[in-house]
């Protein structure tokens, strides 16, 4: 966390007077709280945004009452409702696993935030294998989903859990391969250095590198990441018209809220990875726009991708299980291999 420490040091010079253990602890705790606050705020905002977007796409208004202006306080009311609701655990459920599952899902999502580079200096942990770390941590969530579906002791939940497991594990391959295409060229897996390697103007971003090869890789990554976070058209694990609610059918109140929070946090993480790897992270598209601070660019780009995810959700129907697997193994995976091969050839030539 050296860059982070320096960042705080520049901001509050008096930190350097403190003993090292204290300074590190304070900085660490503050950062975690900041991130947690961001996740919670983002989830509330994203829920509101999703409801408004869906409403406007469907020729209605969505929440308009709570809080006055366009129902901005609606998600807060929803959150309070979820928190004070009765927590129901089915009688025949495996209580320990049932309680543990949402925690795992949410922890996995939150852990991913550790390596997101918000700006040149503000990065909680600049690991040299940052990308690898984030991929591994986010695939941890599948254990939580499987646990929740199994522990509910409900056949529909079990179906959802099995679908989640097969889907998320399969789609990790195209995700990783698409990212590999960029890593090969950049020669680093550190999130920070990946962005720094893209400095310049918009044409230096990785997505325009080796045009159109990396652009295709970006597309593959985006499609596969939709499946990773169970968004339409790949929302089979939840698929409410088939599986009632999938793995979270039996969950209510707080625990359901955690699943929900985890889902939205994951939406942000996959968008943030795409931003970092393909869209130049915190960098401005043109030098002239450099006066706008990095975090704003970073969040702005990620939010645009989140918006596209929502847009797709309210437009497309859902795939079937076999079509989902077909898309992964027979379309996305071979294409990402081809791209790696072509970029390799390009580099050699």
């Amino acid at each position: 966390m050296e860059p982070l420490f320096q960042f705080f040091n520049n901001l509050f010079p008096f930190i350097s007077d403190w003993p090292e253990w204290l300074a590190h602890t304070v900085v660490g705790v503050v950062t975690v709280l900041l991130l947690f606050g961001f996740v919670a705020l983002f989830a509330l905002f994203a829920i509101w945004l999703e409801r408004k977007i869906s409403a406007h796409m469907q020729d209605r208004l969505g929440p308009m009452e709570v809080g006055g202006w366009h129902g901005w306080a609606q998600p807060i009311a929803d959150a309070i409702k979820l928190l004070v609701k009765e927590d129901i655990i089915p009688a025949m459920a495996d209580r320990t696993l049932f309680k543990l599952a949402p925690v795992i899902v949410f922890t996995a999502a939150l852990a991913g935030f550790a390596v997101l580079p918000w700006s040149q200096d503000f990065i909680p942990a600049d690991l040299n294998v940052g990308l690898l770390y984030i991929l591994s941590v986010s695939s941890f969530a599948v254990i939580g989903l499987l646990m929740g579906g199994w522990a509910s002791n409900n056949k529909w939940s079990l179906y959802g859990a099995m679908r989640a497991a097969s889907q998320m594990i399969s789609y990790e391959i195209p995700v990783a391969l698409a990212l590999l295409a960029v890593i090969m060229n950049a020669g680093t897996m550190s999130m920070r250095h990946l962005v720094i390697a893209q400095s310049g103007n918009i044409l230096d971003w990785n997505v325009f590198n080796f045009f159109p090869l990396t652009a295709v890789a970006f597309f593959i990554y985006f499609v596969a990441s939709l499946a990773e976070v169970n968004r339409t058209p790949f929302d089979l694990p939840e698929g409410e018209s088939e599986l009632v609610g999938g793995f979270h059918t039996e969950y209510s109140s707080m625990r359901f809220a955690f699943f929900f929070l985890g889902e939205y946090a994951n939406m942000y993480i996959v968008s943030a990875i795409a931003t970092t790897v393909f869209l130049g992270g915190w960098l401005a598209p043109f030098e002239a726009l450099n006066f706008i601070p990095g975090p704003i660019w970073f969040v702005g780009k990620a939010m645009t991708l989140v918006f596209i995810q929502m847009w797709l959700r309210w437009t497309l129907p859902r795939l079937r299980v076999d079509q989902l697997m077909y898309t992964c193994w027979k379309v996305l995976t071979p294409f990402s291999f081809a791209i790696i091969l072509l970029i390799g050839l390009w580099k050699v030539l």
Partner: protein, 387 residues
Amino acid sequence: MKKSNIPESQFELQVPESLKTEEMTISMGPQHPSTHGVLQVILKTDGEIINSAKPQIGYLHRCFEKHAENITWHQVIPFTDRLDYIASMNNNLGYVIGIERMMNLEVNERAEHLRVVVSELNRIASHLIALGTYGLDIGAFTPFLYVFRDREKILDLFEEISGARLLYNYIWVGGVAYDAPEGWREKVLEFCDYFEPKIKEYNDILTYNKIFIERTANVGVIPAEVGISYGVSGPSLRGSGVNFDLRKDDPYSIYDRFDFNVVVGKGEMGTVGDTWDRYWVRVDEMVESVKIIRQALENLPEGDAKETVPRNIKVPAGEYYMRTETPRGELGFYIISDGSKMPNRVKVRSPAFCNLSVLQAIAPGVMIADLVAIIGSLDIVLGEVDR
């Protein structure tokens, strides 16, 4: 003593027993989002594949036939509303025409035209729900609200003419309950102009969506002879390529005067009789319904459409099987009268009941997601299945 898994010598190494698998029995419903009501289907599945699906019905049985034997002829009409509650006008029509034929009654021209207009409007409204909920079954939310936006306009028209938005009790023996209010004719024509371009909108967002086609084409194919044998009727049978529409083949009311096409499935995206074909027949039928409405309104005679028959009718002794084409198919009323002021027997041949029975024949071998698509494409209304 428990045997160790590690063999003592390599010669004891044996091929492990294959993983034990068995069928899983799942109850889909009566509370399930895509059974369109309180239908229960007992599924036997092998993973995602369905080995058998047995519908269990009766959760919404409201004793229509028993009730009908204890109330007067006119009092049955509101009960018919509640059979297929999203196409009430069509239900009224079938029952009322049955009685009129038994009594050999003439209905005035204006009432006949109004009956056709409201029936076809209701057909559109019902097909809209079928479209929207089918989108929901496949996982597309937005079309559902698009169709509800347009159905709302039809309900407004119905509210104006009958006073009700869902259960109209509008078509009575000998005519209709109320004449159309002033300006209603123009409003319906306005709606027709508004509605026709909207069908393209549905096609853009749902019908020709690649994922939608992938999900529905070649799924749940009902071959024509299987459909006929199971008594499948209406759009579901026409989807299998059978050109059979009671409005043409066994005309009632004044349907023989209008010029419209019978839409049949052609297997445009896959096999004839798949779920996409059944869906497409409904979309195209709305276009034909608009055509009929326009023709009927064009020739709408002046005068009073209100029924002139006394409320306390006595139907001459006899029996009649009256069948009409509702949005779901062949709705039959088998009416037996003993000459008194109450029916002796009213049997409802419900199209949704027969359409649903074909499910057990076509379900084996499909996936759970396909079963949802098939149930949606049969467009059942549980109020009519259970009566």
